[in-house]
Symmetry: C2
Subunit: 347 residues, 2 copies
């Protein structure tokens, strides 16, 4: 690391304090502040002539209302908060990206908060949201979050809370989630369709509801098929563990064809490393299928077939729901985004 110190910037601290205000416009034009305020919002009480004068001066000096003053009066700002356990995850990125895009178009800004999967931090963040009187909160809760009363409390304050991805089990809240069961069943069906005999299913943290849902449906669909499939399931809570599991399986199956189902990108990453390490040819030596947002699967050749869980789509759905809530809807809705199978040629 190296540093270059450059020229002195001088003290041109043109203080914020002298930024354009209604008062300044009013003084300039010899009218009252209220008149200026009303003129700018095209109030019928103000004459066309005055409106014009005001607007001209306003654009000239680049007037813009002070959002803090406005909020103080109206209790109405245009800010959303998105709270996620972690940012190192492509799914959240696309979700955030999706929200940000639409929100900006509607004049909203978005705060990003990261709970680090710590319920304590999550609470602090919620508090911050309450204090800031954000217009709404999108949140994917931590795996440890048990008590959802802080969220309903926020809702009670008039701040809609939309849960997404990691959602509480309660039905008295707005939830937008990935169709875990559906995605798992898509993958399982695909395996059945290909008539594969040996299957290794690798799943994530068994304590997470998402894992349970995927596990349950995957095994169920596979069992319900009218073919005899040999299924082995394992939990792996990290990429490395997944790699180990896969290596062991490769040794076990000694040359026999088998398919691996990876519940998540993380697991897929580990599995693919094992596959490459053992120099197996995907599709020919081993079949791979996973549930993913779609970024990682596209890094390999052949691309990995996956049941898509689109953060982008989820974002659109969530914002939509949020807007309805703000508009006054008071139903608790659970929206499940069913996924579709994206064929990549890996199975």
């Amino acid at each position: 690391m190296f540093v270059v110190e450059n020229l002195y910037l001088g003290n041109q601290v043109k203080d914020m304090r002298l930024s354009p205000t209604l008062k300044k416009i009013a003084e300039q034009l010899n009218v009252s502040i209220s008149t200026v305020s009303r003129a700018l919002k095209d109030h019928p009480d103000i004459s066309a002539e005055t409106k014009q004068k005001v607007n001209e001066l306003a654009t000239l000096i680049e007037y813009d209302p002070n959002p803090y003053a406005v909020n103080l009066r109206t209790h109405n700002n245009k800010e959303f908060a998105i709270v996620v356990p972690s940012l190192s995850n492509f799914f959240y990125h696309s979700f955030i990206s999706s929200i940000e895009e639409d929100a900006r178009q509607q004049g909203y800004s978005v705060f990003i908060y990261r709970s680090s999967n710590d319920p304590q931090i999550e609470l602090e963040i919620l508090k911050s949201c309450r204090l800031k009187r954000v217009s709404g909160v999108f949140i994917s809760i931590t795996t440890e979050t048990k008590d959802i009363s802080p969220f309903t409390k926020l809702d009670g304050y008039g701040i809609p809370v939309i849960f997404f991805d990691k959602v509480p089990s309660s039905e008295l809240c707005n939830k937008i989630c990935v169709g875990d069961a559906h995605a798992a069943s898509l993958a399982a069906s695909e395996i059945l369709k290909k008539g594969i005999k040996n299957v290794l299913g690798i799943f994530g943290d068994p304590n997470m509801s998402i894992t349970q849902a995927r596990f349950q449906k995957f095994t169920e669909v596979l069992a319900a098929g009218n073919q005899k499939v040999q299924l082995k399931t394992v939990y792996a809570i990290s990429s490395e563990e997944a790699e180990q599991v896969a290596l062991a399986a490769i040794a076990d199956f000694k040359g026999e064809y088998f398919a691996v189902f990876c519940m998540s990108d993380e697991i897929l990453a580990g599995v693919m490393k094992a596959v490459q390490r053992k120099n197996l040819k995907v599709l020919k030596d081993v079949g791979i299928i996973c549930i993913s947002d779609g970024m990682i699967p596209k890094l390999f050749y052949p691309e990995i077939t996956y049941a898509e869980t689109s953060g982008f789509k989820l974002g659109k759905l969530a914002l939509n729901r949020m807007m309805r809530c703000i508009a006054g809807s008071s139903f608790a809705q659970t929206i499940v985004d069913e996924s579709r199978l994206i064929e990549g040629g890996s199975i």
Copy 2:
């Protein structure tokens, strides 16, 4: 997608308006608002007894100052803005993550804005930052941004602007950037060290300064080596293009060993697809080296050797610099984070 409508939430809109304020505490305790305000900030003028009463009631009714009122008075909020061209990029994620982490600890919140690489949107975002009177802005500018006066204007308003990653060429601003030249030279040196004869260098958009810096240094170092290396350089502006280029090269070299230098993750992704498609063994048949944040290289086996550009480290540096600016530093500093080589066994 399917939807479940659930129970009616009722009209428990416990309006924000009746949230705890200084006034309410004051009335309860029969003291003045100023006394409450001062008691809460441990002002010496207030007696220990009063302080205690106030604090007790305050925590009881969960008082927290209204940030809008505070800002209106003090012109001082605790919010940073991060502006990036796109969010679909691991580097920015780790940068954001890094900033968010430290910022939160210091009581700051962070806004995320995405310019979509559109200078027009970028301007709007800057305006929004000005209106919100954020405490500081971290920005990676669009590739089209020519005029940096809007940024210096912000600085003039007392809002420090820290450029990162994609930075303007002007030296009158605070810049934190990746050591492009250094990273490129690390990669080139590694290639020389391994005594590789044939090299394919794939670079991104030739109009970007980052590309130019990397290209220039890479070729320079390679040429300066005292070995004869056969270097071919190509620009590829997408993952797909990179794949095509690599496929062509593989055909060209027909079995001869060569190394590929990938300027970015995107290019690496394309190249790796070509390698897998042609069933080449990395390290044995072909050497790979790249510049990366480190996520993608770790998805392969062997892991790809890369010169690290750490968004995480950059974030720390940037926040550090920001704090200094807020504290009053008025030097324009350019900080370059030199990268280090992470050996992955791919070359």
